[in-house]
């Protein structure tokens, strides 16, 4: 087994281990939540005996660790159980929302990531020029605005004033691709504004950091043009930090969009999770939480692997 394979396998297995720990942690968290589902559904007027009967029906009378193991066993067989609150299959509940969340995340990512890297490169290339300062200040302002505020302002200008885009990002399985792209343009734009800034600033910083290296001076003294220095000499060496930041932001596009979902009433996973937490619907919370953690971990592992791949020291042993 090569060193590279070992590194990659090490990262992946660590990721899987983390996933397990996260699921256990979330379970403990749900256990600690005050109040329970039975009470939630039956309301204040329920008598102790009805409560007890209902708990037994839901399996809530089992000891916590048994329920966890039971759940874990199910997950390993691909069965996420049924929602306690609505009695429906968790996978059925998750399916359309998952698709929506992934759609929005992909939409935003496909635009944001290349845009951020290109802007970052340009800002690094023309650093300390008016362009650089302008882009930087815009980025800073975008970072500094609460997300919901950005969303509302976009709605004001693009929906209410200009009437170009709808304010409700309603999509479902029947919506065609173009229509879906059109309807979810505003939430995607909000997300793009939020993540581009960070990725772009990091790209710029990483590139500029590398530009101080002696091999960049060497390249200049070989008569290599500036854009080629940035793209050919600096970018490959700045890839690791850039990829890491991009991964972090892409993960954010999947797991951190609750606020945007609320503003545009977008039926995504975030709202589902918030609903499930407030109704103590533990199988749903677990499933969504697990998915979120998996996204985060996968993207990070991918970023690590890309960093490893982009580093010839690790790719080729001595």
């Amino acid at each position: 087994m090569s060193r590279l394979q070992k590194l990659v396998i090490g990262r992946v297995s660590l990721g899987i281990l983390t996933l397990f720990v996260v699921s256990a942690l979330m379970f403990v968290g749900i256990e600690l939540l005050p109040g329970d589902l039975a009470q939630q559904i039956l309301g204040q007027s329920a008598t102790e005996s009805t409560l007890a009967a209902f708990r037994a029906e839901l399996g809530l009378d089992q000891p916590a660790h048994l329920r966890y193991l039971d759940w874990l066993g199910g997950v390993l067989r691909g069965d996420f159980g049924t929602s306690l609150a609505s009695g429906r299959e968790v996978s059925e509940l998750l399916g359309p929302r998952l698709a929506n969340t992934m759609f929005l995340a992909t939409y935003a990512a496909v635009i944001a990531a290349p845009l951020a890297v290109i802007l970052g490169l340009l800002a690094a290339l023309w650093r300390n020029t008016l362009f650089d300062r302008g882009v930087n200040l815009t980025a800073l302002s975008a970072i500094s605005m609460p997300e919901f505020f950005v969303g509302y302002v976009l709605i004001l200008f693009l929906s209410i004033k200009a009437g170009v885009f709808p304010t409700l990002a309603r999509i479902d399985s029947a919506t065609g691709l173009w229509d879906a792209l059109y309807r979810s343009f505003l939430p995607a734009l909000t997300l793009i504004l939020v993540v581009v800034a960070h990725m772009m600033r990091m790209t710029r910083a990483a590139i500029i950091n590398v530009l101080a290296s002696p091999y960049i001076e060497m390249a200049r003294l070989k008569g290599v043009p500036r854009w080629r220095i940035i793209v050919q000499h600096a970018l490959p060496n700045a890839l690791a930090p850039i990829v890491n930041v991009v991964a972090l932001n892409l993960a954010y596009l999947v797991v951190g969009v609750v606020v945007v979902e609320v503003v545009f009433s977008y039926p995504g996973l975030g709202q589902l999770l918030v609903d499930a937490v407030s109704s103590r619907d533990f199988p749903v919370v677990q499933a969504v939480g697990l998915f979120f953690a998996a996204v985060y971990i996968t993207l990070n592992v991918l970023a690590d692997i890309i960093s490893i791949m982009s580093n010839p020291r690790l790719r080729h042993g001595r």
Partner: protein, 487 residues
């Protein structure tokens, strides 16, 4: 007023609705399901704009002289969407679904008075009650009690979409949307005008209002009161308000010091500036409360009672009567009690201070407010909505043995009247008794009810409704889908 007209699609943006919603009527607990339920399933009775119970799926109902036996006769022409005609067995199965030890339904406690249900032929259902109850037909307006089909063994399929209502469900995505299409063969004349209805859950108030302004929806509930005037000015948008049974209350537990002293209670009642609260918390969309829970829109409302007003001097006077110079009390509050409760408490504290009443506003956690604070703390915030009759209101919230007796209220005369009025079929006698009960609660009780809220909604100009609407709940008591139309 234009005549109702068929056609059009109504798109609604609703505040409530949750992923855990299901079609099982026992689980209904939010507006989204109430409105959808009423559109698809009929109930035996409905509450008319004048506050009375009228036959709906039932053609008629009548009581025995002691009001303990009720006979409901069903319509002959009411068909389910699968073509079957509604029968007495369907009704019995639908009602039994909420009864019995297994039931988790919210209506269960109210059905406990029923000792027997039986069918008399295909079309007649007879209820035997443990004791006389003149208000019994009101119960059947409840959204839980939409009539479903008997599956043959005396039970219903809780997730069945087959009802006798004016609409059928095309799409049901819990917590997201429901899409309804009108039945052309609906049995009821002059109802169900929209061709299609789409209800979307739009939780964020700003998003709801934006969607209305951009024409993405035609009707929204609960617009943000702060900006509603601005919303009303938008082209093609109108605001609809209706009085209701919704009221806000700060219950004082009458068995706990210092609230066991009636003068202390009176001091606090005079120490709150009700107009200011309506102005600032309800943004004008409310009417002053008079410390008793029966609203103008309900039957037997007593309008002879003198309105209590903000009067720091009177408050001081009562305080002195209680032998106190000043009073320190803690008011437990949270926006979980009702939205704006914290603001209302803060305003209360501000207005009470000049009277020597020092109210310490204590914010309690939202989570668990209803289990840890309400009914536990001697002075807190709470609200009540939609009880169709004084009897239901008083017996759930003011009867000495009621579980939700927030004020720990135990008044001999009141308890006596409550029992007497319930089976009384003579309307004048009933009105007298309920009038007296309202007076007792107002003048002696621990309920500080500063305001009744109005139900506010906003819609495009093209949405039309009858001149009179039912005021028990929001949006024509959530029956707007069947009752309203598009211009």
């Amino acid at each position: 007023q234009a005549q109702p007209k068929k056609g059009g699609t109504l798109r609604v943006g609703f505040t409530q609705g949750s992923t855990s919603d299901s079609l099982d009527p026992a689980t209904f607990n939010n507006d989204f399901m109430f409105a959808s339920g009423y559109a698809v399933f009929n109930t035996l009775t409905e509450i008319a704009p004048d506050g009375t119970a009228q036959p709906d799926l039932a053609e008629s109902f009548e009581a025995s002289s002691d009001a303990a036996t009720w006979t409901f006769r069903l319509r002959d022409n009411a068909q389910f969407s699968d073509g079957k005609t509604a029968t007495a067995n369907d009704v019995i199965a639908s009602i039994r679904h909420h009864m019995g030890p297994e039931s988790k339904s919210g209506i269960k406690p109210l059905l406990e008075q029923i000792t027997d249900i039986r069918a008399d032929g295909d079309k007649v259902v007879i209820f035997e009650l443990a004791a006389g109850n003149a208000d019994f037909p009101f119960i059947f307006n409840d959204y839980h009690l939409g009539i479903r089909q008997d599956t043959g063994d005396g039970t219903i399929d809780p997730n069945s979409r087959i009802g006798t209502g004016g609409y059928v469900i095309d799409v049901f995505e819990p917590g997201v949307r429901v899409e309804l299409t009108r039945r052309d063969d609906y049995w009821k004349e002059g109802r169900a005008h929209f061709d299609k209805v789409v209800i979307l859950k739009v939780g964020d108030p700003a998003a709801r209002m934006n969607a209305l302004m951009t024409g993405e929806v035609d009707l929204i509930d609960r617009p943000d009161l702060k900006t509603i005037n601005l919303l009303g000015r938008a082209p093609n948008v109108k605001i609809h308000t209706q009085d209701g049974t919704l009221h806000y209350i700060m219950p004082m537990q009458t068995n706990t010091a210092p609230f066991d002293d009636m003068n202390v209670r009176m001091a606090l009642k005079y120490g709150i500036n009700r107009e200011d609260m309506i102005e600032k918390v309800l943004r004008g969309y409310g009417t002053v409360g008079n410390d008793q829970p029966i609203s103008r829109s309900m039957p037997y409302y007593n309008d002879d009672l003198e309105q209590i007003t903000y009067d720091p001097e009177r408050a001081k006077y009562h305080l002195k009567q209680a032998g106190l110079e000043s009073l320190d009390v803690t008011l437990s509050t949270s926006d979980a009690a009702f939205s704006g409760a914290v603001d209302a408490s803060v305003l209360f504290a501000e207005s009470a201070r000049p009277a020597g009443l020092n109210i310490d506003v204590k914010r309690e956690p939202d989570d668990g407010y209803w289990s840890n604070v309400w009914l536990q703390k001697p002075f807190c915030c709470s609200y009540w909505g939609g009880r169709p009759t004084p009897d239901l209101m008083f017996s759930t919230g003011y009867a000495a043995d009621a579980e939700w007796n927030e004020t720990k209220w135990d008044n001999e005369r009141f308890n006596e009247l409550l029992l007497q009025a319930r089976p009384e079929l003579d309307q004048t006698r009933r009105a007298e008794m309920y009038g007296e009960m309202q007076k007792i609660v107002k003048e002696q009780g621990g309920a500080l009810i500063p305001a009744f809220g109005q139900y506010v909604s906003a819609m495009s100009e093209s949405v039309q409704m009858p001149e009179e609407v039912s005021e028990m709940w929001d949006l024509d008591s959530q029956r707007f889908i069947e009752r309203w139309w598009m211009a």
